[in-house]
């Protein structure tokens, strides 16, 4: 009993409040997304997503309780074990999994199913945190970096095998954690540069302009800087590499990406090219959000989402309901909530005494940030359509539990941060 009190006293109630507000708002919006005026159904109706989400929320409460009861040392101690178990489940999915909505990502008994890929997020976060938190860990050692990339690469590949590209991409965000823990920003910058060049290649029809631009920049860089042989050679190699990326874009677009993925990229570049085909999702999503105006159409008054113009309106495109029914004000509230949560998590992470807890905290922040940025970005046409949920808002048990576990393990660690120090 004393321990219970201790936890409740030390819990970061700011985060818990934000969490509760988000889950509640999410639940209302899921109801709004599936609401049918003519059907006279209540928000508790179990045949609706909102009714089922309430069960998921109730289950989350039990999960939270379990997380808080378990000894905080368990998470670090069992990190690899949990990671291994989840990897095993991911391996099982292609064998005994069931197919839902085109993706074979579910494990289940009867009508009840979970997506191991969702739980791979917190498992990987734990494993990465434990690895970096090992006494004497040095980020600048190539072997360590390689092991870290293998650690996030294995679940990525296994999830890619389930054809769930969106969830697989989430794991790239661990690069941010590595960056925080001392890895050179070179990799992030190269990745960003490659992405920019990639998009530019798609946007600029005649690639001669791009080559010309690279040439100009190269000459300028050589003339402006020190004229050492080594520097000129490095710059030239860099420019050639960029040219190689440009050349490979065409290959990637036509040969590597699957047709539906190509279309998602094309829809981002120019959604009006085929508003009924590959641009449909983005076009309809923007129409729904754009029609919300300043204060929105009002709760349950949206037309675009509940009449199915927006696809996946209670899961990946839940933000459309917010944008349509609550307008810019509603969007503002949700975005501010997310920014506040993310900043709070970073604040929590930074105040951890142990490296394990801090790395874990940054992993949580990075994963939430990726979901937040990519999900809302895609609904308003800033990002290609990548099917990942908006934390705490999107309908779905696995996603809600996964995000809840991620957050509350951090809160548990945070509550015992002074004990952590004692252990050392």
């Amino acid at each position: 009993m004393r321990r219970e009190e201790a936890i409740s006293n030390k819990m970061d109630w700011v985060t818990v409040m934000i969490y509760m507000v988000m889950v509640l708002l999410g639940w209302f919006n899921i109801f709004a997304a599936v609401y049918d005026e003519t059907a006279h159904q209540s928000i508790f109706d179990l045949s609706l997503n909102s009714g089922r989400q309430l069960i998921f929320i109730a289950a989350s409460a039990i999960i939270i309780l379990a997380i808080l009861i378990v000894d905080m040392r368990f998470y670090e101690a069992a990190a690899y074990l949990i990671f291994g178990a989840i990897l095993f489940l991911l391996l099982l999915v292609p064998v005994i999994g069931k197919e839902v909505g085109g993706n074979k990502a579910w494990l289940g008994i009867g009508s009840f199913g979970v997506q191991p890929s969702e739980f791979a997020k917190f498992a990987t976060a734990l494993a990465v945190a434990k690895f970096i938190g090992t006494v004497g860990f040095k980020m600048d050692r190539l072997r360590n970096q390689l092991l870290l990339f293998i650690m996030i690469g294995v679940p990525m590949v296994l999830i890619l095998l389930q054809k769930d590209t969106g969830t697989a991409l989430v794991f790239t965000v661990f690069v941010i954690v590595f960056f925080r823990e001392g890895m050179s920003p070179f990799l992030i910058l190269v990745g960003l540069a490659a992405a920019i060049i990639f998009i530019l290649t798609l946007l600029v029809e005649n690639q001669l302009y791009l080559y010309g631009g690279i040439g100009v920049i190269l000459v300028a860089a050589i003339l402006l800087g020190k004229k050492s042989i080594k520097r000129i050679a490095l710059l030239t190699v860099g420019a050639l590499l960029i040219a190689g990326v440009i050349e490979s874009v065409d290959y990637v677009i036509t040969d590597v990406l699957k047709p539906h993925q190509q279309n998602r990229v094309k829809a981002l570049i120019n959604p009006d090219a085929d508003p009924l085909g590959f641009g449909w999702n983005v076009t309809q999503s923007k129409i729904a959000i754009g029609s919300g105006g300043f204060s929105g159409k009002g709760f349950l008054k949206g037309t675009q989402t509940k009449f199915d113009f927006v696809p996946e309106q209670s899961t990946d495109f839940i933000f459309c309901t917010i944008g349509e029914e609550h307008g810019w004000m509603g969007s503002f509230v949700v975005i501010v909530l997310f920014v506040a949560l993310l900043l709070r998590i970073i604040f929590l992470a930074e105040r951890q005494k142990s490296r394990f807890a801090r790395v874990y905290g940054y992993s949580v922040a990075s994963i939430f940030f990726f979901h937040f940025a990519v999900n809302i970005g895609m609904t308003i046409g800033l990002f290609p359509v990548i099917g990942i949920p908006l934390p705490f808002f999107s309908y779905g048990g696995s996603a809600l539990w996964s995000f809840t576990i991620l957050l509350f393990i951090l809160l548990k660690l945070d509550a015992h941060r002074s004990q952590m120090l004692q252990r050392l």
Partner: protein
């Protein structure tokens, strides 16, 4: 080592939030395109077409009503897998026709794959019954009910007019902006003239629909919905039995019959021959039938009572008599010798007074009379004197409703022509014409044209002894008033005593020139005429009213290429009057004579048409 990296991440997070809010600001607040797109996505506008007003005859018989028809609409986006073989079978078309339909659909300017667009127009009730139960086999196709015109009589086509889809130029001209492509509008006759009263008001219902087009209740609880308001019903002055009898008599003939109730100006019958069956120009077969009717060489769409113009011929002598009397240049006893040096005449007592001149239709008499009307020595210059005289004369003529459109409630009415000094100045030059230039006018020839309607109106003026009401076909509008101008009495300004005198002459004239027109027991006043036709046989003309004591009907009949007015035109007018006043026709031989339609003399017929026309000569 890792100083500042926390801050970089915090800045990235805050920047992401700001970028999102700015982007949202653009699409939610600055760009209203999305709101419009959302409405066009989810709000379905169901148009409820109003019932067009019904049209009745003067006795309450229905003339024109509405019959249901159905448009087949398509929402192209919803047509995913069309069983075209099945479709062609149900809708009775070939695969090629179906392909053409789709091609036409895409070619249309307003075409959108989201919006319901008309695919097949005007399916009949019968077609609909056949299609209805199989419609669910064809996803994306819907039925929209509307109505088309239906006709209770196969007569009266030109007077009632027809209704068809509004044309592109009409749509561009329409300043009310009430019409949309595909809407029906009256194109001729009463349908066109009374379009505003007949059309009613369209109702609109805004419905919400989901992405599959399934209705999801009213938009804003129907706050913007309106019910359709039916058009006003019209009660025409047409006497359907008389109209039908008129068309029966005119069958196979070219010409017009116009009958007017003198006391009100109400048109009792308006026959234009040849005509068409009004039910041809309605429904799905409209286009092909319209081509047929429009290209017919007998011009069935030409509404002769209003649009055909003829020289009035001898009928005009009664107008000359009245003007002469009013001007004081003629008296009842004025006598002129029948001098045939300038104009021809036929054998009759000579010399004759005015009564006799009208009765025998003496050409030289009216030549002399007209000279007195024109040359009253108002000026020593004979040219100026003629100009003054003609303008004075024309002032009278205008008050008889001649020389300009009467203003009947039908579109495209022609005004005929009554020459003014301006006209002759244009032709001959100012001061270069005088009475001897224009003397043909004296007997209703020359630069003088009238419509059959104007002649019927003239008969009404004669019956009323000097005034008329503008002829009109609609005597009452349900829920609205008829135009007040139909209630205004137009005076000719000529003493009614003179009319009494001319009436007597007209009733006697029947015994001289139009014995076929005599109806036992009814005093009929009439005047024959022969409108000269340079292109063929002369046109037979007759105007009359009856009974003389209390006129109930005034009538003018034109039969083209039928020779003397005393034969076909007088017979038809007389039969019409008998039919209207007694309700039946007892003179069956006369009726048979008219129906046979063989009015020309064997001698005249033997002569080539062009040569049979004597210049400036009236045969009566």
């Amino acid at each position: 080592m890792n100083e500042g990296r926390k801050e970089i991440l915090q800045i990235v997070i805050v920047l992401t939030g700001i970028v999102f809010l700015v982007k949202l600001f653009f699409i939610q607040l600055l760009d209203d395109r999305y709101a419009q797109l959302a409405d066009s996505n989810s709000i379905m506008k169901n148009i409820e077409y109003p019932f067009r007003g019904l049209i009745y005859d003067r006795n309450g018989s229905l003339l024109v009503y509405n019959s249901p028809e159905y448009d087949l609409l398509i929402v192209k986006r919803e047509v995913t897998s069309l069983d075209s073989v099945n479709f062609c079978e149900v809708f009775d078309m070939t695969q090629d026709e179906l392909n053409v339909k789709f091609k036409e659909l895409r070619a249309r300017k307003e075409y959108s794959p989201y919006k319901p667009t008309v695919f097949i127009k005007q399916l009949s009730n019968y077609d609909f019954a056949k299609i209805q139960e199989r419609l669910d086999e064809f996803k994306g196709f819907y039925i929209q009910p509307r109505t088309s015109r239906a006709y209770a009589t196969n007569t009266l086509a030109n007077a009632v007019g027809y209704v068809s889809e509004i044309s592109k130029p009409q749509l561009d001209r329409d300043s009310s902006k009430l019409y949309r492509q595909g809407d029906y509008t009256g194109q001729s006759g009463i349908e066109a003239y009374y379009e505003i009263l007949l059309r009613g008001q369209r109702g609109v219902q805004y419905k919400l629909r989901n992405v599959k087009g399934i209705e999801k209740g009213s938009f804003k609880d129907g706050a913007f919905d309106t019910l359709s308001i039916p058009g006003h019903n019209l009660i025409t002055s047409i006497d359907l039995p008389l109209q039908e009898y008129g068309e029966y008599l005119m069958h196979g003939k070219v010409g017009s019959v116009v009958a007017i109730e003198p006391s009100s100006g109400e048109v009792l019958a308006m026959v234009s021959g040849p005509s068409y069956d009004p039910s041809m120009l309605t429904g799905r077969k409209f286009s092909s039938n319209f081509m047929l009717v429009n290209s017919d060489t007998t011009k069935p769409l030409f509404n002769r009572p209003l649009m055909a113009m003829y020289p009035p011929g001898s009928i005009f002598k009664i107008v000359q008599s009245l003007i002469g009397l009013q001007e004081g240049v003629l008296t009842y006893d004025t006598r002129f010798p029948c001098d045939r040096s300038l104009v021809n005449c036929h054998n009759h007592p000579n010399p004759t007074n005015l009564h006799g001149a009208i009765q025998y239709s003496c050409n030289p008499y009216f030549h002399q009379s007209f000279r007195r009307i024109i040359n009253q020595n108002k000026s020593p210059n004979t040219f100026t004197d003629s100009r003054i005289g003609l303008d004075n004369w024309r002032g009278y003529v205008k008050r008889f409703g001649l020389g300009e459109p009467l203003g009947v409630d039908l579109p495209s009415e022609k005004g005929g022509q009554m020459p003014s000094s301006n006209l002759y100045n244009r032709i001959y030059g100012e001061g270069r014409w005088k009475f001897s230039t224009i003397y043909s006018l004296s007997i209703g020839q020359g630069e003088m044209l009238v419509t059959p309607l104007q002649m019927a109106n003239l008969a009404a003026i004669m019956a009323n002894k000097g005034y008329f009401y503008t002829p009109h076909l609609v005597k009452a509008v349900e829920g609205a008033d008829i135009d007040v101008r139909f209630k205004v009495r137009h005076e000719t300004g000529i003493d009614s005593a003179y009319f009494t005198f001319v009436q007597d002459a007209m009733s006697d004239a029947i015994y001289g020139t139009a014995q076929r027109a005599i109806i036992p027991g009814i005093t009929l006043c009439g005047k024959t005429g022969t409108a000269q036709n340079p292109h063929g046989y002369d046109h037979s003309v007759f105007m009359a009213f009856a009974p003389k004591e209390n006129p109930k009907i005034a009538i003018a009949v034109y039969v083209e290429n039928a020779g003397w007015g005393g034969r076909s035109a007088a017979s038809i007018a007389s039969l019409m009057i008998e039919r209207y006043l007694t309700g039946e026709v007892k003179r069956k031989p006369l009726e048979a004579y008219v129906l046979k339609g063989d009015f020309l003399d064997p001698v005249v017929r033997a002569t080539p048409a062009a040569q049979s026309v004597p210049v400036n000569m009236d045969m009566e």
